[in-house]
Subunit: 777 residues, 2 copies
C-alpha cells in the first residue's frame, strides 16, 4: 500500500473548534418561531387498562394549545421490527412511565400544570417483571396478547413456533456439532448463571425531538437519531405521509451510546404538532429519560462448558435471556447480534446458543454500545477463568489454547479472518505484568489480577450512501448520513476523503444530517460507520475523480487513466509538473459546462450471506469482527467490600486506525462506561417502577473513580488489516467496553477468592460473598 | 406540439398557502442565536473628505460589541462591474447617505444610541449633481479621480477612451447606416429632450442582511438577493475567502423590483460580524432604503428623428444619459441594455445610439424592473406621437408603418423573430375603442386617448444550472437558484417539471436559495428566468428521465427509447398498461443500488453572439425580445392639472404563457408601478440630499388611484412562440411597466394639447404647461 498522508495520522477532530468554543448547536438548543413546549403524562402502573381519560381540565388551561391521547393517534404502531408500540396506548399501558397523554403549551410551566389536570382512570392488571418467569410456558401474565397479529417478527415467527411462550419476542439459535455428545466426551462439565443489571446510557443531552408540519403538509422533525431513515419510515406510517414529505434534520447530539434509536419522542412531538398546528418541542427530563428513554437490556446468561483436562473446549451451550421489557423495539436484533459474542473468539467443536428476547412489564430496553455482547462476554470470560481454576491452568494459557486461528471456522461457520485477539492479549498481559504493583497488601486490602478477551461483530448486509461534491475551489464536500455522536465519524470520513484526494483535511467539508443533501444510511450502529460509510465514501471519491480526470483529459492531452489528483490539481502520472488546477475545470463563474456541479456517488452494501435459520450457520453472517483484551489489577477491601481498580490495560485490534488518537479516546471512553457497569451502575426497578431516577441514585463513575494517572493504558493492534475496510480499517468502538467487566470480576476473584456473577459488583455483593465463603458456603 | 397538461394552465401558485397563512419567513424575519443588531452612520454631505472618525464613545457604550469604519475594511472594493465602492470609505464620501461607520449592539436601541456617539470630522468638497453638467469635458468636479486605476470597466475603457470625460462610467454606441445622411434625406426632422425622475423600488420589506462567521471561518449570509453568486464573488474578494467558504442563504423576499442586487448590506453586516465575533443583522429603515438602497436611474433621453412625409422613419439618433450617481454598480450594464429599447421595435435604416452612464454626487442608482428601457420608451413613444401630429397621421398608423417585421434586421443587426407587437397594438386599440366613454367632457375635465408600443430585450449569453432529484416516492424535486421575488418563478418551474414528467404540480417540490443544494445562476434579472432556468430545468428533467428509463429498461424488457413517464410510473410507449412505478426502481429502504439517488442535471447558456463593439451590431446580442402595447383613456382637469386614468388596456406577447393567470398578475402589477412613475413617484434630491424619505413624501399609487373596476384589462398575445423558450415561452415580466407612461403622456396631450416630456407628470407640470400654452408659449 502506498504511503498514507492523512489516514493513520492523529489530526485534531474536525468539530473540535465548534465543540470547544461552545458554538455546536445540539438538538436540545434549537428553537423555531411559534414553538410550543410538549410534556407527557405517564402511567404510574406497570400494567393497567385505561378506562377513561378526562383531559377537559387541561384543555381549558389558558396556555394549552393541544392535548393528545391514544384516541388522537392513528391505529398504526411503531417499533424497530415488530411495530408493536402505539404513540399513546388507547387500551393498556405495559410499563410504569409509558406515556398516556401529551400536552403542548406556550410554556413549559403551563404544560406541566396542565398534566396535573388530566384525569386517567386505570384498572390495574397483574404484571410480570422477571424474564425467567415470563419466559416459562403458558405464563399467567401475557404482556402482548395480540402479539401474533402484528405479524412482523420474523425471528420469533419463523424459528420458534411455540405459542405456549407468548412472552418471547424473538429467538435465535446457533447449532454446530453435537453439544450433548460433547458434554458426554468432556473431562469436566461446568455450568454457571450470570446476570447483568439494567443500565442507563447517561447521555448528557436528554432525549428530545421537535416537530413541525409545514403548510404543504411536510413534517419536519429535528432530533438527533442514529437511524433516522428507519424513524422516517415509522413516521410515514404513523402519519400517512410519503417519504419525501418527512424531512429529518439530525443536529449534533450530546452523547448517545445507543439511546437515540427509537421514534417515541419524534412521534409524540409530531402528534402534538399536528393537533396544535404549531411546532412542538419535547425534551425529556432526566427522570423521564430513565423511565421511558430505554436502558441497556438486563440479561441472564447460562453458560455450560465441557472441557478436556488440557483445557481444550469440546462443548459449550450458552442460553441468553435478553430482558426486552414492555416493547420489543430493537431487542429482536440484539437477541440476534449478542450471540456472535459467544461464537467468534474460541474454537468450540460442539456449540449451541439459544437466545431469547423476552417481554415483561418493566420499561423497554433499547440498544446500548456493545449491543448485548458485553453481558455475554462477562459470562464467557468469567467462565474461562473458572475453568482455568478447576483445571489449575493459567487463565491466559487456557484462552490461548482455544483462540480461533486465521482460516478456521467460527461458531457461526464463518471463516476467521483478520483476528488480532492473541496480540491484544499479549499486549495487555505484558503491560500489566510490567506495571503491576508488587508490594504486599495493606490492612484489609487484597490485590488481584484478571484478564479477559472479547470479540465484537460488525453487522453485515447493510447499506450506506455517500456523495462527494467537488467545489470550484477544489474543496471536497463529503455528504453522508451517519451520525457523529461524539465517536468522531466526521473526522474519520474527512481523513478518508483527504487521503483519496491527496489533500489536507482543511480542504474537506463534511455535511450531514439533512435528507435533501444526504442520502440513505442504515444507521450509526454496531461500529459499522468506518467500514460502510468509509467504503461508500471511497467509491464516491473514485466516481468524482473519474469525472475530474475525464474533464482534465482533454486539457492535459492524456487519457483519464494516466491522471491522478493531488493538492487541488489533476496531474499527469509520472510528470507531476503537468497539472491543471481543479478550479480551472470550472467556468470563471464557478460552474461546470456539463452538469453544473461535480458530484461523485458511492453506495456500499456489506457482504450478505445466507444464514441457515435453524442452525445460525453461514459463510457470511458478519461484515467482520474486531477483537480486544483487558487486564486489570484491583484491590478489594475485605472489611467493606469496596473494589478499587488500580491499573488497567485495554487493547483492541482495529486494523488500520484512521485516527490513532481518536481510537485511544474511544478505548478510554469505553473503559469508563465498562467500569461503571462493573462496579456501580444500576437502574433499579422495584415492582415495575424505576426508582433510580437521577444521578444521585444512579451512580456513574467520575474521574475520581478511575484508576489514577498512569494506572491505565489504551493499546492498539494495528497490523491485522481488514480487506473490507477502507485502508484496512475495522470498526471497533462498541467493543471497547466489553472486556473490562470480566477482567475486573476475574481480578476480584483472584484477590479475595469470591466469584461474583452478577454485575454491578457492589460492595454489598462482595461483602455478602466473603461472608458466605467465610461461613464455608 | 403535444397537448399540454400543466403548462398553460392557471394553477394556484405553489407558494400561495405559505403566503396567505403568513408562514412564509422573509429574510427580515430571521433570527439566529447570539445575533446583534447593526446600524450604519451615514454621511450628511454629498461630497466630503473624512478627516477623522472618533468612535471611542460608541465603543464604550455598554451594549456595543463592535464599531467598524473604513479602517477595519479590506482595501478590496465591490460593485457589479467596476468594483469601485468600499464597504466604508476611509477617504472620501461621495453621496449624502453613504455609510461611514457601523455599529453592532445587543439591541437596536443601543446601536442607535451608539451612532450618536461617533464623531466624524469632514471637509466638504465641491459636488456635482446634474448628469448633463457632469458629462461635460474637463468638469470642475470629478467624482472618482482614481477611476482609471480600477481597470475593470470594459465598456468605458474599450469604447470611449476620452480622458476628458472622467465622470463617464460607461458608454455604449449603436451605429447602423448613416444617420446624418438620413436626416438630410428626411422630409421632417424633429428633436426632443425627455427626462425621468429618480424612483424608489418601494419593496415592502426593507433591504437587510444577516451575517455570521462560523468557527471554521465560513461566512454565512442570509439575504434575499437576485444575483447571489455575484455577491458571493464580491464577499470572497472583500474577506479573502474561497467560494466554498461563503454560503449564501436566500430567503423569501418581500418584493424586489431590482432593488436586491447590490452587496452593500451583506458586506457591511459581514464586516460587523467579523469584528464582533457574533452574528449581525442589518435592516435598513425606509429612510435608509431611500438614501442608500439604490433607486431607479433617472435618465435624460434626446431623440432626433428624420421622417418622410408618409411617416416612414429614415433616421433616428438617440442620446441617453443614465444618471448613475456616486457609484457605478450595475449601471454599466443598464447603459448597455437600455439601448435595445430604441433598436428593436421600429425599422430605422439610419440609426445611432449614444448611451452614457454618468457619475454625480447623488445617491447611486441600481437596477429597476425595465432596466433603463422605460425611460427610453417614454422618449421614443412620445416622439412617435409628436411625429404623427406633425404629419397629421393617426398614431397607430405611423407605428404600424414602421414596425419591424419577422425576418428583418433590427437596429442591432439581429434578425427579427417572434415579434407580436402589432397584434398587441391591435388588441389594445380595439379594447379601448370598444370601451372608451364617448360621453362629452364635464366641467374642467377634458378626455383623451393615447397608445404606445414597446419591446423588452431578454439578456443573452447567461447561464442557469438546475438539478432535478427524483425521490423514491416519485416526487420530483427541482433545485434551482433563481429568486422568486413574487413574480412566481417557483410556480413556473414546478409547472415545467410537472409537464415534463406528466404529473401534477403537487408531486413537484421546488427548492432554492441555499448554495449546497442549488447551483450557479446568473441571476433573476432581465426577465431571463423562464427561458434560462426553464430551459436548464427541461434539460435536467430529460437527464433524470434518461436515467429512469435506463433503470426501467431491464424491468420492462424494452429499450430506454421505447419508454415514457406519466403519473409516477415509467410505461412502454404504445402499451400504457406495461408500467413500472418509479418507487419500484428504488430499494425498499429508499435508495438506488447505483448512485444512491437519482439526480438529473441541466445547464443552459443562452445563445452568445459576437457584438461589434464600435457599432453595437451583432447577429445575436439578445436571447430574444418580448413586445407589448398600452392604450389609455385619461381625463385631465384643466383647472387643477389633475390627471385621472379612466381606462387602460395593456397587452403583451409572451409566446406560450406557462401560467396565464400569473402573466395577467404581472401585467397588472407592472401597470401599477408604471402609473406611479407616470403621475406621482419621485424621490426628490435637493443639493445632493434625498428629501423624500418616507411614503408621505414619496407617493406610490394605492388601489384608489387605479382606474375603477372594469377600467383596465390585461391582454395577452400567445401565438408567437419562441423556439428558445421552454414550450415556446418568452420572458416578458419586466416589459409590463414600459408602455403605460408614454400611452398616458400621449393621452394627456390628446386631451389638453400639452406635451409633458418629463415624468412624473404632476399636476404642477400640467398646470404650468397649460398656462404656458394659453399664454401662447
Amino acid at each position: 500500500m502506498a504511503e498514507l498522508c492523512v489516514v493513520g495520522h492523529s489530526i485534531p477532530r474536525v468539530d473540535a473548534v465548534d465543540k470547544v468554543t461552545g458554538s455546536t448547536r445540539y438538538a436540545v438548543d434549537l428553537k423555531v418561531p411559534g414553538m410550543l413546549y410538549g410534556k407527557i403524562l405517564r402511567s404510574p402502573y406497570p400494567h393497567a387498562r385505561i378506562l377513561r381519560i378526562d383531559s377537559s381540565g387541561a384543555e381549558r388551561h389558558p396556555g394549552v394549545k393541544a392535548v393528545v391521547t391514544g384516541n388522537d393517534a392513528s391505529a398504526e404502531r411503531f417499533g424497530f421490527l415488530a411495530r408493536e408500540r402505539a404513540i399513546f396506548p388507547s387500551d393498556v399501558v405495559r410499563f410504569a412511565g409509558e406515556g398516556v397523554a401529551g400536552v403542548a403549551a406556550e410554556s413549559m410551566e403551563a404544560a406541566e400544570d396542565a398534566l396535573s389536570l388530566i384525569k386517567v382512570d386505570y384498572e390495574e392488571l397483574p404484571a410480570v417483571f422477571d424474564p425467567e418467569e415470563a419466559i416459562k410456558p403458558n405464563p399467567a401474565v401475557v404482556v402482548h396478547p395480540e402479539y401474533p397479529k402484528y405479524g412482523r417478527l420474523p425471528f420469533r415467527i419463523q424459528f420458534l413456533n411455540r405459542p405456549e411462550l407468548p412472552n418471547v419476542y424473538a429467538y435465535r439459535p446457533i447449532i454446530r456439532g453435537d453439544v450433548e455428545k460433547g458434554f458426554r466426551d468432556a473431562d469436566l462439565v461446568l455450568e454457571n448463571r450470570f446476570s447483568t443489571a439494567r443500565m442507563h446510557h447517561s447521555a448528557l443531552e436528554p432525549l428530545n425531538a421537535m416537530a413541525r408540519f409545514e403548510p404543504d403538509g411536510t413534517l419536519t422533525v429535528w432530533t438527533a437519531l442514529t437511524m433516522p431513515f428507519f424513524t422516517r419510515s415509522a413516521l410515514c406510517s404513523l402519519f400517512s405521509l410519503p417519504p419525501s414529505k418527512v424531512r429529518m434534520i439530525i443536529p449534533e447530539s450530546g452523547g448517545s451510546f445507543g439511546a437515540r434509536a427509537e421514534a417515541t419522542q419524534a412521534a409524540q412531538a409530531a402528534l402534538l404538532a399536528l393537533k396544535a398546528r404549531r411546532p412542538v418541542k419535547l425534551v425529556l427530563s432526566r427522570e423521564e429519560f430513565l423511565l421511558d428513554g430505554g436502558t441497556r437490556e438486563p440479561m441472564v446468561v447460562y453458560v455450560k462448558d465441557g472441557v478436556r483436562k488440557d483445557g481444550t473446549l469440546v462443548a459449550r451451550h450458552v442460553r441468553m435471556i435478553v430482558h426486552a421489557g414492555a416493547y420489543c423495539g430493537i431487542m429482536a436484533i440484539t437477541c440476534h447480534s449478542c450471540t456472535f459474542a459467544a461464537a467468534a473468539t474460541y474454537r468450540v467443536p460442539n456449540f449451541k446458543v439459544d437466545s431469547y428476547a423476552v417481554a415483561t412489564n418493566e420499561p423497554p430496553a433499547v440498544a446500548m454500545r456493545g449491543f448485548g455482547a458485553g453481558q455475554v462476554e462477562l459470562a464467557i470470560e468469567s467462565q474461562m477463568d473458572m475453568l482455568a481454576e478447576k483445571l489449575e491452568m493459567d487463565p491466559a494459557e487456557i484462552r490461548r489454547k482455544n483462540i480461533l486461528r486465521e482460516g478456521e471456522e467460527d461458531g457461526c461457520g464463518m471463516p476467521v479472518y483478520s483476528i488480532g485477539v492473541e496480540d491484544c492479549l499479549d499486549k495487555v498481559t505484558e503491560w500489566i505484568d510490567r506495571n503491576k504493583d508488587v508490594s504486599g497488601e495493606e490492612g484489609p486490602w487484597r490485590r488481584g489480577s484478571g484478564i479477559a478477551i472479547v470479540n465484537r461483530q460488525i453487522p453485515a448486509g447493510t447499506t450506506s450512501v455517500v456523495h462527494v461534491k467537488v467545489h470550484e475551489d477544489g474543496v471536497i464536500e463529503v455528504r453522508h448520513s451517519a451520525h457523529d455522536q461524539g465517536q468522531g465519524c466526521n473526522t474519520v470520513l474527512a481523513q478518508i476523503a483527504a487521503e483519496e484526494f491527496k489533500t489536507s483535511v482543511d480542504r474537506v467539508k463534511v455535511r450531514y444530517g439533512d435528507a435533501p443533501l444526504t442520502c440513505f444510511d442504515h444507521g450509526t450502529v454496531g461500529s459499522r460507520t468506518t467500514m460502510h460509510n468509509g467504503n461508500a465514501l471511497l467509491l464516491a471519491c473514485r466516481d468524482a475523480k473519474r469525472q475530474l480526470f475525464e474533464m482534465a483529459s482533454s486539457k492535459l492531452s492524456v487519457p483519464p487513466d494516466g491522471l491522478d489528483v493531488k493538492e487541488g490539481a489533476v496531474y499527469v502520472k509520472g510528470v507531476p509538473e503537468r497539472v491543471v488546477r481543479i478550479s480551472e475545470l470550472f467556468t470563471p463563474l464557478g460552474y461546470l459546462v456539463r452538469g453544473g456541479e461535480l458530484v461523485g456517488r458511492g453506495v456500499y452494501t456489506g457482504p450478505i450471506g445466507s444464514e441457515d435459520l435453524q442452525t445460525g450457520q453461514s459463510k457470511r453472517p458478519s461484515m467482520g469482527y474486531s477483537h480486544g483484551a483487558s487486564a486489570a489489577q484491583v484491590a478489594v477491601n475485605t472489611e467493606t467490600g469496596e473494589v478499587k481498580v488500580l491499573r488497567m490495560a485495554d487493547c483492541f485490534d482495529m486494523g488500520q486506525p484512521i485516527n490513532p488518537k481518536m481510537c485511544e479516546g474511544q478505548i478510554e471512553g469505553g473503559r469508563g462506561i465498562a467500569l461503571g457497569s462493573t462496579l456501580s451502575e444500576e437502574a433499579v426497578v422495584i415492582g415495575g417502577k424505576t426508582v433510580s431516577t437521577d444521578f444521585m441514585d444512579y451512580k456513574i463513575p467520575t474521574s475520581a473513580d478511575m484508576p489514577p494517572n498512569g494506572g491505565t493504558v489504551s493499546l492498539m493492534v494495528t497490523s491485522h488489516h481488514h480487506d473490507n475496510g477502507p485502508f484496512g480499517a475495522k470498526g471497533f468502538c462498541e467493543g471497547t467496553m466489553l472486556p473490562q467487566p470480566p477482567a475486573v470480576a476475574n481480578a476480584i476473584c483472584d484477590a479475595v477468592g469470591v466469584r461474583i456473577k452478577d454485575i454491578p459488583i457492589t460492595k454489598e455483593k462482595v461483602l455478602e460473598a466473603l461472608k458466605k465463603r467465610n461461613a464455608g458456603g
